[in-house]
Symmetry: C2
Subunit: 375 residues, 2 copies
Amino acid sequence: MKTGKKLFLHIFILTLLFTNIYFAQFGNRPVVISPQVNNDFTVTFNFHAPSAKEVKLNAQFEKQPILMKKDSLGIWSLTVGPVKPDMYPYCFIVDGISVADPNNSAIFPNEGFQNSVVEINDKTPLIHSVRNVRHGTVSYRYYYSEELGIRPVVIYTPPDYEKNIDKKYPVLFLLHGTTDTEETWTKVGRANIILDNLINQQKAEPMIIVMPYGRAYPAISKSSGSLRNWENLQEFKKDFFNNLMLFVQENYRIKEGKDNYAIAGFSGGGGETLYLGLNNQDKFSWVCGFAPGMLKEEFDRNNAGAFADPNLTNQQLKLFWIGVGKEDFLYAVVLDYLKVLDEKKIKYEKYISEGGHTWMNCKVYLSIILQKLFK
Amino acid sequence: MKTGKKLFLHIFILTLLFTNIYFAQFGNRPVVISPQVNNDFTVTFNFHAPSAKEVKLNAQFEKQPILMKKDSLGIWSLTVGPVKPDMYPYCFIVDGISVADPNNSAIFPNEGFQNSVVEINDKTPLIHSVRNVRHGTVSYRYYYSEELGIRPVVIYTPPDYEKNIDKKYPVLFLLHGTTDTEETWTKVGRANIILDNLINQQKAEPMIIVMPYGRAYPAISKSSGSLRNWENLQEFKKDFFNNLMLFVQENYRIKEGKDNYAIAGFSGGGGETLYLGLNNQDKFSWVCGFAPGMLKEEFDRNNAGAFADPNLTNQQLKLFWIGVGKEDFLYAVVLDYLKVLDEKKIKYEKYISEGGHTWMNCKVYLSIILQKLFK
């Protein structure tokens, strides 16, 4: 049993330690560690907001925002879970305002909101877990468009691309969703890591992945809506074929012929993918939509190239793949779309998953199609 | 003069347009464009927070936070300036909480706070402005440390590096500040763009820039303070020479000999730079500190390699460069340091600028030293 003196000493030492840890770096502002993923797969979130009245955690592994609890230092905390191992976007809702986690440098690249990303690792690594295998290179490049100016693109080259200087590779063009950026497929979708791992396991062909900025901005303003907005599609198509594709062909060792060209995309970028892929079957043999953004009244217009000659489409495409989640707000319209494909006898593969319109599902869809492409 | 009917029609059309623009994308959440840089160099910031009581703009071109004004949609707005053309970090202070701009995907990569970045272009492009010149490649790579695990590093290779496969290049190791990440030198410091422009103007030698993650995390916890914390320095040094430098030498075409090796860094990374550079003069001939983080009581310990033999140091280093701003909180200690260098007759170049401990100054310092290195 502790004497009064010993108890006092303990508290004194704890206070010193605490003060030291929390006040070491920012003077009066406590150093907050967040998120903390615990060994039992629970996750602790911390957020310093002494003046806030209410802070909630809004995480994509929870059905709804959960109230956090404030301590005497003004740090709001919450431990949730155990959480199914994966990578999840989350934010804090501070008196009604959505805020990214200021202590987490893993940011969801986006033009319309700010989320942070938390990764919960499993005991055995997941397909998107960074492992000590041979890694490819993710390159940030610029190309030029006369209409749209200097355009960013992120390009993955597989392990040893730099050393195998006589080897050519197939290429996947991979498009992000509306309000995402050219960085979202690597930073939230982990496209590079997933392919590193699949190549390491000999489950996927080494390939190049080209991830452009999918919005024809600044010619088309951000306020003009989805990526599959018609004006965006026209401008983006011009840029894609006249500038981006040439840049890639001139600067990377790409195998020739359309059988070495694939296109895939998520959400608004899935809509772009179907539009670009199905109407340019002379350029791509592999077309994959991940919860592709679409409207029923646009089916005929956007799919004209495929609908005009279903037989030819079936011959020309080596893979036409559609994935969507049962809780996705696009589930109903995608099912309608698949019905139309059935009526027209256009062949496709479908993958109906659990879950909604999320990047967790995107990683699953990408992992599946990477094992099919160029085989 | 407008009739009542015409006025009504005008308002009706404006309202339609407004509603269309603002409510197109997010249903009930208005689409906010922010920041807007205007032709007269003023900048308009917008932030949607209907329930907030007070929103201020905290921008590094202003001396103090400035109150914003709320409209009937709950959008807080402020127009400031004209602002001197440059790139500036900023955030909104929402009822006391610092928040990045959710409508701006240009984020300041950092582990301890979240800022956005606004770029105000001049009529003639600045040294960090993205221009239609030949661009180098910014590559995101991983290397492995037995102690610290899988480590990220960002590497710039100059234009045509991929094509000049027999050419070797000198290398600059460039370190970020405390709480920054391996991305801060490109995303806020624009190191790649500055060098693209200087190479294009034939003012700098084509070189490789290696930007590692400068904290020995997770072995040294984030709460252990500055990058020049002693435990961090020891662990980072081991990683730097045993893993990072080997990775770079094995994977990039680096010219041999210490005259082709430079090291530079900002703030805590400036402290790391002086420690690594001055104590390893057999490995670097060029050592540059940008507002280097230092404490007077650490001068002797951290500079032992240079202080032991000033004559040899003067022979071995081709450039020992220190830059700092007159309003920098480190200005006094850096001046003390320069006095000690004078007493010991260690040669150096200094550059005393206006301004404080900012990335605006970092870009200036980098632009200067890039024109000196490897010449």
